[in-house]
């Protein structure tokens, strides 16, 4: 007898922290399979970042949603840093981008492939995802399901318990580890079937981040990312990015008044504190005469550009209505000086500067 028939089968579930991945794992756990969770950190996960930084989010629970979801399910979670490897996915997606800079199909393929590798290394038998047919325009269509299974090399060891009834029989079903009749036929964008299932499993709390859990599907974030790449190209650099680069795009107001420099102005105390950590790597500005934001200047600003940045900083400070304010400018060499500037009037912050 094949030894695979007698031992308790083991599955690894991709856990995002959202409801669908929780339900998918749960449907398989119900059938006596040992399940553990896996979560991949791309650097673009919405997660705690902004929560940890911005004051306005201070009362939201600060936690890793995937970890929280795994604890609710009573399973272990393995969090894997894929920031470096993910660059290839984002910079050259074979299947292209979705509505914004989200390479969802390539991303799914990549994550399933990584999960398969992990499963092989750790003696797990199959992979679970919470995909639902027709839920996402790009990555969750019936036509893309076989592409994901094929290109990730996972083949018939990929089980999607929420829509399995629409899909061909998988290896774990053939082996009798799981029963097709205990899986589901959820499709489309309605969330009702998921809600009903959640109720059945008594899952009454789950993360529902507005705008999803990935910055790449966010229009404003995507614009800033494209701007970052354009600025790099203008400097004859590749589109390669660091984790700091992409986290910075989440913080503050971003302006590009001219091609050669970008101004980032904090929106609250939390963001100021966060940007303060980067002071040694940038030219920065802060008011000495009034309360105000912390401003970071990226790129190659001229003296005149820095004066503009100082006036913009003043515009977002408590001194915006004063005739002049004092702004301290510190350049990369650590040298500071005080500038006396007139706050920039609101209508002189041109709309095209906003990134």
């Amino acid at each position: 007898m094949n030894p695979e028939n007698i031992k308790q089968p083991k599955a690894v579930a991709l856990i995002s922290g959202g409801l669908d991945s929780m339900l998918a794992a749960r449907v398989i756990m119900e059938q006596g399979v040992h399940v553990e969770g896996i979560n991949f950190y791309t650097g673009f996960c919405v997660e705690g970042h902004t929560q940890a930084i911005r004051n306005q989010d201070k009362n939201k629970p600060k936690r890793n949603n995937a970890l929280w979801a795994a604890e609710q399910l009573g399973i272990k979670l393995h969090i894997i840093d894929i920031v470096e490897e993910y660059k290839d996915v984002l910079l050259k997606p074979k299947h292209g981008y979705g509505q914004h800079m989200n390479p969802c199909l390539d991303c799914k393929i990549f994550m399933v492939r990584k999960a398969k590798q992990w499963a092989d290394e750790n003696g797990f038998d199959f992979i679970i995802t919470g995909e639902v047919i027709g839920q996402r325009p790009m990555s969750q269509r019936k036509a893309t399901m076989p592409i994901i299974a094929k290109e990730s090399d996972v083949g018939s060891r990929l089980v999607r318990p929420l829509c399995a009834k629409f899909l061909p029989e998988t290896y774990p079903e053939k082996m009798g580890w799981i029963d097709r009749n205990k899986m589901h036929d959820i499709s489309g964008r309605s969330r009702k079937p998921q809600m009903a299932l959640a109720e059945k499993f008594a899952i009454d709390e789950y993360a529902q981040p507005a705008g999803g859990c990935c910055m790449l599907t966010n229009e404003h974030y995507s614009k800033k990312l494209v701007d970052l790449w354009q600025a790099k190209a203008a400097n004859n650099q590749t589109r390669d990015y660091t984790l700091d680069d992409i986290i910075m795009l989440k913080i503050g107001r971003h302006f590009r008044p001219k091609e050669n420099f970008k101004v980032i102005i904090s929106r609250d105390e939390g963001e100021s504190n966060f940007l303060r950590g980067y002071r040694s790597e940038f030219t920065w500005l802060e008011l000495t005469s009034h309360d105000g934001p912390l401003t970071i200047v990226d790129g190659h600003p001229t003296e005149e550009d820095l004066l503009l940045a100082a006036r913009m900083t003043a515009r977002y400070s408590q001194g915006r209505d004063a005739d002049t304010v004092e702004v301290q400018l510190t350049t990369l060499d650590g040298v500071s000086k005080i500038l006396n500037v007139e706050p920039l009037p609101a209508d002189e912050v041109l709309p095209q500067w906003h990134i």
Binding site: N39, Y41, C45, E47, G48, H49, Q51, A52, I53, P61, K62, R63, N64, A66, L67, W68, A70, E71, K76, L77, H78, I79, I80, D81, I247, N273, G277
Partner: protein, 86 residues
């Protein structure tokens, strides 16, 4: 309390990096050895204890400390518990 085997500086790292670093550091320790982790992301106050429970590592100490520049740091002292916890 027994001696700290290793200290992990996870200051300035944002969720989930402090957790990933903790997870990877624990992996390299022997059963019974002790890891100290220092973070600035408040999310770690939930994440690290939860992760310890999940893997049956002993959380010997969890505390908030104020730094000289009046910022808050979160400090955790973890004893590697479960041998298979990887």
């Amino acid at each position: 309390m027994s001696e700290i085997t290793q200290t992990l500086n996870a200051r300035r790292l944002l969720c989930p990096m402090p957790l990933i670093r903790t997870q990877n550091a624990i992996k390299k320790l022997q059963f019974g050895e002790i890891l100290e982790v220092i973070c600035t992301d408040p999310g770690t106050e939930y994440d690290i204890p939860t992760w310890c429970r999940m893997y049956e590592h002993k959380l010997l100490l969890q505390e908030q400390r104020e730094t000289v520049d009046e910022m808050v740091e979160y400090c955790f002292v973890i004893e590697k518990g479960n041998k298979e916890a990887e």
